[in-house]
Symmetry: C2
Subunit: 511 residues, 2 copies
């Protein structure tokens, strides 16, 4: 990843594009992990019982002659599964295939997922759908489940994911030939999981794998495990999920509730990141729960019936889960796990040199906070300024000011009532250094502060930064105290900067 | 502006960032116009009667020691004026000041506009508003109108514009000292207008000035004139207007109708361009009409009373203007004029190497077409691919697929009814070469075509390109024939590519 030369006086020198360290464009799992990223790659892990991972080489991209680009993650026994998918209307073939499988099987009797990198199988018409189906069927064949072999008409037991170039057909023979190889390479060790995590990478510079153990209040003696992998690193502005995510746990989850549980946490993790504002055609995050660690007689995790009936319940507040202590505990564990996974995607954003947390506090509502935060995260001008370590905070305000849904009227001064939920005179911005040193206030209730540029540079030199924006409610000043205290409407979004490398990587991605 | 080296085999070489040709970041009107852009700078012009232009040097940016950065464009006699302004909620002080002046004076008795570049006077709190007022008052003083001197409490006769860095206070003494100098430099020659056009530039590489003559059917013997200047070159994703635009004409226009006339044409010109998706805090386009060429007894151009009463009438179709042949004629002239002016902004987009027309044809409605076109124009991935001359057309589809307002449902296949007005199976994409050579079809009704990459490269080597997207209505195939013929719902948007230079320019803009 590009680094700038500190202390070089000339702007041109400091910002001149240095393409010395070239990424293997869309050649997955390449071995050369940048030293600065090594710390994000685990050397061991505890993986859920009854799950296996494996990978093999298909050479989906002709330029990829050695790196594995096909992965399998499966449960030894058919399990419960959920998937959340991109809202992009051009849903890739594997997205449509996985959706259909989950619906037809009612989230039950799923064996796992087969993944290829190097080609997204998106906008590929009828043939693309046949290819996605062929991948799932080939994986199913490897399992030799009597249940499945009984009828070729059954919907597959395997979900499908593809990532890479859009608008190209898969080299399907290469892939179907590689699937049995990935199956015979299946195993439960850390290396098996890491190999699979590498195989799903495209422009990622490091594999993204996390594993964890947890217990639930009802049976504190039982240890459960959760493990997951994800990949970036471009076309990341998730809408229901990020590019690809696979999470497995050996706790038992009610198939009727699993989708809501997954969506609830994705809305608080994967749906809070943006790298370049482009919502992919292939966004998919899946959760597999095989209950291998749940003893007989222990009920699966579930949700109240009325939740399960209602759509969009996944967006409800955590409080709604309070009926079950186990559910509360699991939700907290799961959201933290998904958040850490999502942050790894930002950490490896294409060309990124910075990891930026954008925190917006609104006393109007959570949607305003989220919209403002996402608008900042999407602004090319904010992101290039961060790359240049330039405290050009006016661009942050500008991005808040044009955020969809909080626009002002053209004919009235911005501060008039009815122009939106943001009042310039009651907006504040500051930089929060991650090392705990003093906060740098840039704008206080609409009044720009005299900025210590030296201090600003110090903060911007750090890889990590938090930008805090406060949107106080001009319509009702009396509420301000309450808001300061409660801070109910806080939205956190994670993003990165916008560098020369991003342009280089995406100027000729298909090569 | 950066150019790529044609025929260089290595991707890295071709895309390596070449910052040899450095723009004068935010140093306005610098003399070094790139050879490729010289053709856009007029060497003569015909300017409207009774208008004067002038400029002077204030040194708003310390780094600007020689280029004029204050401009005055005024009418010898008080005139009718309209302005349309950014929808960004953080309206800059000059935007708020000009809005107030136009409302208080009911679009009448305006003398002109005073402009500074180098500092936007945006998000500058109370002091910023005082500075904007001081600029207007100082310009007024120069006119020495008895009308005005009679009462200091009157709202100013001069509108104000500022452009440059956001969040910094104006060096107001420098500017008020420069305004009388600009006033004494006023004149009506081509050079006077060109100097003013240069003085309002920031990262622009060339001044943007157009002048034209026209006549109206009621008095074909009378020659009217229209002239205008604009500037870019970043933070361009206009919402009601682009960064700055000043248009003057010597035809007479009804003050009650002038705002609608201006908005109507801006919605079809300036509001159809995007460079980086960031809607500025300072967007302002003004129209001044002094009637100096309209003989006594000839009625000013106006609109039917019911139009003037209704808001948003500016969005109505051209047909609604049909009550007056003069109005029809003027509207056509004016839209064409405004469009040519807006295109110059795109032509000079920060770091841009390409001028791209995005044409979307929808048989659902015009809003869908406009939203899809704007989403493509905003996509960092589409723009970097265009920069890299990579026919990665899948990204075009992707951007259509996540366009706000035309999202699909997550739980249904994208082609199901109710998922939006875009049906993948009925979407087509092609590249239209501007040299009239054969069209290159990339996607036909959801089926990707076998793309001749050599031909694609040929087309992408050209500076100008048109991308055509057809969105046919899946819900009612019977309508397709009609649509093909009528093509009522067409939206054209103009944008540029996204280059290393864009990152360089914006990585340290404030310096």
């Amino acid at each position: 990843m590009e680094r700038m030369i500190p202390g070089t006086p000339s702007r041109i020198k400091r910002l001149a594009c240095k393409c010395s360290q070239i990424r293997h464009y869309s050649a997955p799992g390449n071995g050369s992990i940048p030293p600065a990223k090594q710390k994000y790659v685990p050397t061991s892990g505890t993986y859920p019982k009854g799950f296996l991972a494996g990978s093999s080489h298909a050479g989906v991209k002709v330029s990829n002659t050695q790196h594995d680009d096909v992965a399998l993650v499966i449960s030894k026994q058919p399990c419960v599964a959920a998937g959340i998918f991109t809202k992009n209307i051009f849903k890739a073939a594997p997205v449509q295939a996985s959706l259909a499988t989950l619906i037809q099987r009612q989230h039950n009797g799923i064996r796992g997922v087969v993944v290829n990198s190097g080609c997204a199988n998106a906008v590929t018409g009828r043939l693309g759908l046949e290819h996605a189906d062929a991948m799932a069927k080939e994986a199913d064949r490897c399992f030799k489940d009597p249940e499945h072999s009984s009828s070729a008409q059954d919907s597959p037991q395997t979900l499908v994911m593809s990532t890479g170039v859009i608008g190209q057909q898969l080299p399907i023979e290469k892939i179907t030939a590689a699937i049995p190889k990935a199956h015979s390479a299946l195993g439960s060790t850390h290396d098996h999981w890491l190999d699979a995590a590498k195989a799903i990478c495209t422009t990622d510079t490091f594999p993204k794998l996390i594993s964890r153990t947890f217990s639930l209040p009802s049976h504190p003696e039982i240890e459960y495990r959760i493990a997951g992998m994800t990949k970036g690193a471009g076309m990341i502005h998730p809408n229901m999920a990020t590019l690809l995510g696979i999470v497995c746990t050996d706790v038992s989850i009610d198939p009727k509730a699993i989708t809501s549980i997954l969506r609830h946490s994705a809305n608080r993790s994967f749906n809070c990141i943006s790298i370049d504002g482009d919502t992919s055609t292939n966004d998919t995050v899946t959760l597999f729960a095989n209950g291998a660690a749940t003893p007989k007689g222990v009920q699966p995790l579930t949700l109240p019936e009325d939740f399960i009936q209602k759509p969009r319940m996944g967006n409800r507040k955590l409080d709604h889960y309070k009926q079950s202590p186990d559910m509360i505990a699991f939700t907290e564990v799961f959201i933290a796990f998904m958040t850490d996974l999502a942050k790894l995607v930002v950490r490896d954003g294409e060309g990124a040199t910075k990891f930026v947390t954008i925190r917006v506090i609104s006393d109007v509502n959570a949607q305003v906070a989220k919209r403002a935060a996402m608008s900042i995260a999407r602004s090319a001008l904010v992101k290039t300024a961060l790359y240049g370590k330039d405290a050009n905070w006016g661009r942050i305000l500008c991005a808040v000011g044009y955020a969809p849904g909080i626009m002002g009227s053209t004919e009235l001064p911005a501060s008039s009532p009815g122009t939106g939920q943001v009042t310039p005179e009651r907006t504040s911005v500051s930089f929060i250094p991650v090392d705990g040193s003093e906060v740098l206030e840039l704008l206080v209730r609409g009044e720009p502060q005299v900025v210590d540029e030296v201090r600003a540079k110090q903060i911007l030199e750090m890889e990590d930064l938090e930008i805090l924006v406060r949107l106080e409610d001009g319509a009702d000043p009396a509420r301000l105290g309450m808001t300061e205290a409660a801070k109910t409407f806080e939205s956190k979004v994670w993003t990165c900067d916008f560098s020369h490398d991003y342009v280089t990587i995406n100027g000729d991605y298909r090569a």
